[in-house]
Amino acid sequence: MTAPAAGPPVVELIHISKRFGHVVAVDDLSLEIQSREFFSLLGPSGCGKTTTLRLLAGFETPDNGEIRLLGEPANQKRPYQRGVGMVFQNYALFPHLTVARNVSFGLEQQKIPRPVADDRVRRALQLVRLDPKLFADRLPGQLSGGQRQRVALARALVLQPAILLLDEPLGAIDLQLRKEMQLELKALNQHLGTTFVYVTHDQEEALTMSDRIAVMNHGKVAQLGTPVEIYENPRTTFVARFIGESNLLEGSAHRRQGNNWSVVLPDHGQEIQVPHHSSIHAGALVRVVVRPEWMQLLPPGELAPGLNTVTGSVRETLYAGPAVHVVVELPGSKSVSVAVHREGQLAKPIRWERGDPTLIAWHPQDSRVVTED
């Protein structure tokens, strides 16, 4: 992952709000995106990510706040005056124009002479790995989903925008091709030095591709950070649930020992250690998130010094290829999922069976204290 270049941010959203009737789509949102960054807006549908992108594009105007693009105020600028390009959700290719005419559409509006335009169209198609000889004269209806996506990308990139806005561009493409396109988009971002602002609801996609992610919920940024920060250090229960799999344990803070608090889980009275967090005080309700792969399963009664341990019984084992997910029921009907690696192969059958008593163990430092949304 390349560090974003230092310098003034290319995108600044300053206290932006947008309402549609009574619905608040974007709620006092502030963001800065650096030059050359691959920046993702991630969230469930209705979280305001698409509206944010449309505000950047200039298809919507904010009710409040200021948008600055490339250091200039952009609230009043028309979409094509903003130095941005856009790849639309359903490609939005002109169905009556050939691939070449689709890509040259923007160049024709700028009255670029034909030979120059033709050359740029050819290079744009090559950039997105479409052979101009094969594809230039085809119509969008004669292309596969992935090829249409490439044309849409070429159409936006041929104008050499400083910022490329992408609205769930891979949503309608099948999994195998999607993985391939993810790598290509990432490579284009690094190769061209264009800033990518990428809207998606697919957390895996966002984690794979982004330099930074803004996880959005209810029109606000729930958490902003690198993929590693977002995944390993979710700040709220919403972020923990939305990104990856997570186990949520709730208990009450008992007492502080140095940098750790001991937290008593209700129902079964087992005690775990969690790192200090500003929201914790004695007697407070503490929410702890532990990722399934940070936990391990031990035979009951085994000693695990320095680790948090909780007893339970195996309810289910789910085979998921690289890992086996063992669902363990804790006393009091709460259950957690533990990802067990290096088991479930032919040589090493799964040890855990339904009803087996077991001990879940994890390092106290891997307990992430989160706040309610």
Binding site: P79, Y80, M86, N90, A92
Partner: protein, 295 residues
């Protein structure tokens, strides 16, 4: 004893192919009896010599078709063609903006406006054409108002002129132009216009390069729906054009009624049909090419 439903089930053909034919049969028989058979009778009439009292006598002749190439009738054909074309053009020029406005109206207004477009079709065309006479005659609303407003001193002669016929035709066929164009504009993906805007297209360029070409199927369908019935119209030229502005429809009607020359009327009908067929073939030709483009 098998139940009634079980016995009925044995009537239903088994194979999909048989079932297809079974579904076609009732309508097919209807069309055969009331469309194809009369058409063949007409064809036979148009090829037989005329009898003394209006019927036909046995024999084969092409004289009725040949008679059509008389300049008197060719003028009628030409007039029919030009007026139908003109009517189509006027309907397009008037109808497109209306369809565009309806397609872009808020969802609350859209259905009300569409209702207004089809409202006239709820009353008889004959009644509406008579209403036009009241509007256009010397002592009609238009002339009364214009004279009261002091714009004219003498009533304008509107009724029984080509202007009256054209007005009547355009009025009658306008909804058939508006509706298909509306349908194609309403279907137009708005993100295409946003994409065009993002690529720097002005409102004018967006219309010419995106909206217009993509509404072409609606335009073509509307033109066919107006042009073809216009070719065969006889009521409007009869009532609003008087006896002076004959179209082929009037000619056919006259031959079957007043002139009692059924073979010639039949031949004239077939010539109208040939014109219509030519128009449809042109339409289908352009549509096929377009469908390749839009596939």
């Amino acid at each position: 004893m098998p139940s009634l439903t079980r016995r009925m089930r044995t009537w239903i053909p088994r194979s999909p192919e048989q079932r297809g034919w079974a579904l076609l049969a009732p309508g097919g028989v209807w069309l055969l009896a009331f469309f194809l058979v009369p058409l063949l009778i007409m064809l036979a009439y148009s090829l037989m010599p005329r009898g003394i009292y209006g019927g036909v006598v046995p024999g084969l002749t092409f004289e009725h078709y040949a008679r059509f190439f008389d300049p008197v009738y060719l003028t009628v054909v030409q007039r029919t063609f030009m007026w139908s074309l003109g009517c189509t053009l006027f309907c397009l020029l008037l109808g497109y903006p209306v369809a565009y406005a309806i397609a872009h109206a808020g969802s609350r207004w859209r259905n009300r406006l569409l209702l207004l477009v089809i409202l006239p079709l709820w009353t008889s065309f004959l009644v509406r054409t008579f209403a036009l006479i009241f509007l256009m005659r010397d002592t009609g609303l238009i002339n009364t108002w214009l004279m009261k407003a002091g714009i004219i001193d003498e009533p304008l002669v509107i009724l029984y002129t080509p202007v009256a016929v054209m007005a009547g035709l355009v009025y009658g066929f306008l909804p058939f132009m508006i509706l298909p164009i509306y349908a194609s504009l309403e279907r137009l993906d708005r993100s295409l216009l946003e994409a065009a805007e993002m690529l720097g297209a002005s409102p004018r360029a967006r219309f010419i390069r995106v909206t217009l070409p993509l509404s072409l199927p609606g335009i073509m369908a509307g033109c066919v729906l107006v042009f073809i019935p216009a070719l065969g119209s006889f009521l409007t030229p009869d009532l609003l054009g008087g006896a002076k502005q004959l179209m082929i429809g009037n000619l056919v009607q006259n031959q079957f009624t007043a002139a009692r020359n059924w073979p010639f009327g039949a031949a004239a009908s077939f010539i109208v049909m040939a014109l219509v067929l030519a128009a449809v073939l042109v339409y289908l030709g352009t549509r096929d090419r377009r469908e390749v483009a839009l596939r």
